[in-house]
Amino acid sequence: MNALLSVRHLTTKLKIDGKAHNVLNDLSFDLHEGKTLAIVGETGSGKSMTALSIMRILPSPPALFPEGEILYKGKNLLKLSNREMRQIRGRHIGMIFQDPTSALNPVYTIGEQLMEVCMVHLDEDMEQAEERVIRMLEEVQLPNPREQLLEYPHKLSGGMLQRVMIAMALILHPDILIADEPTTALDVTIQAQILKLLRDLQEKRGMATLLITHDMGVVAEMADDVVVMYAGEKLEEGTVEALFDQSAHPYTQALFASRPNYSIARGALPTIEGSVPTIGKLPKGCPFHPRCKYALPFCQEGRVPYFRLPTNPSHEVKCWLYDQDLEWKIDRESIIED
């Protein structure tokens, strides 16, 4: 299957105090039509930076222009002019953000903000734009869309605003939707509604979704494939079933184990010692090795390649434990089983 969007060796750096630090390191993945790829990771893993790099809306300074390739229908987005890129944003790739209250302009009505999108991109007049906006708001199931058009953002609840954001991202029928923590700011009942809406819209329109989240529950509900990120690197990639059934990287395993689970005694949750490395203090070698309980001497130096699991070749892991050719001084099976 051909990928709609291919990210290849994407490297993004921030320049702080005259020194460039990697926030994304050699990141590659594919996004397919009608599928949802989830990027999961903790704070500082670079998952939002990935979205901002694809959209080319990185805060600059301190961000430097990304290196690598972002191929959309054969075009490298990183080679386009700013003018060409403006045609891609919104029209071909839509994006929704975590906090809808700060993503909308407080001094314009909902209607003005949505209609502007149609008038700029589609060259429509007010009436055409209004009709299109109302149809779109009906699609995202906002009650009384005609009246809501005249309201300012502060009048609407968080869940309603997120529906408006989704409407704005999808009104031009993009092929790709990037959703950066779309439900993190919402209550669990509203989250369930918004996730269902996103699923329904994806099914109807066949778009590809890049879902950025830290919530494993949202991943289980939404994703077809999952990329696990840590300190700007992809540590593991596989189908959602593979990730939940046979997480392979020690980081992913530890992350799953630390989820509150009522079969574990309170006070005995498995934890990952230490914390996520901060920018500029990345360890050499595998970024996870200082916290990894299986770390081996050669994990501390050099680049770790990706290994495919022999049982499931679509499942990639960036960890020496899965190197089939290495002669192991220790009993490897027992390490991984443990």
Partner: protein
Amino acid sequence: MNQLLKIENLKKHFPVKRGLLGRTTRILQAVDDVSFDLEENEILGLVGESGSGKSTLARTAIRLIEPTSGKIFFQGEDFCKLSGKRLRQSRQKVQMVFQDPLSSLNPRKTILENVGEALLYHKLVENRDEQVAKVETIMEQIGMSKSAIDLYPHQFSGGQQQRISIGRAIAMEPKLIVCDEAVSALDLSVQAQILNLLYDLKKRLKLSYLFISHDLGVVRFFCDRILVMYQGKIVESGPAKELFENPKHPYTQKLLASIPRGHPRAKK
């Protein structure tokens, strides 16, 4: 077990003012006739959506906000009748840990001052040497290095900052700690560390927690008993396991049905 906190018919109403003259147009019943008990050594969960009144209930229950009406008994004493010195003494026994540790710690004070300031105020220590010694013991209890006491809050990670907030709370030798979304802003791996710490401290220091959270997975895992709050009222309460396995109130059922599945194959 002994009752630590008893709340009877607690109400907190806020007037909603509108217009130029600030006329009261309506009364918002943020906490509407709530009664519950919290026993010693108990972890009582409080769940509900934003705007349901969880935080207002918790703050009113410990008189950070004055209740409109109702009774609060803390360790058998009528908490609403206390004033002056007696109130300050009782307040020391109730501490709070907030969601965002960075904004709840004073950025211009070192960890020693942040954690140790109230020790002098409440005369738990006599002088500065004792203060330093006590804060160092607390640092050990919260799993941090003693040498960190001269640093400032921004020099720590989010998880460490939350440890420091917890340290500030236990410094007062409290009986009850109100945790208002205390683990909600933390990453999964850090959240596990803090939950373990809270449980460990509860056992060692014989604490009780009123644990507010919107994360139902965490609440089920961590709490003994749960109160479900909706529009200012407690609509259901019960032991954690029972409440999750057999929710009675329609709102609780709706809330539980909204929790994302734990596994992709468990999809609805």
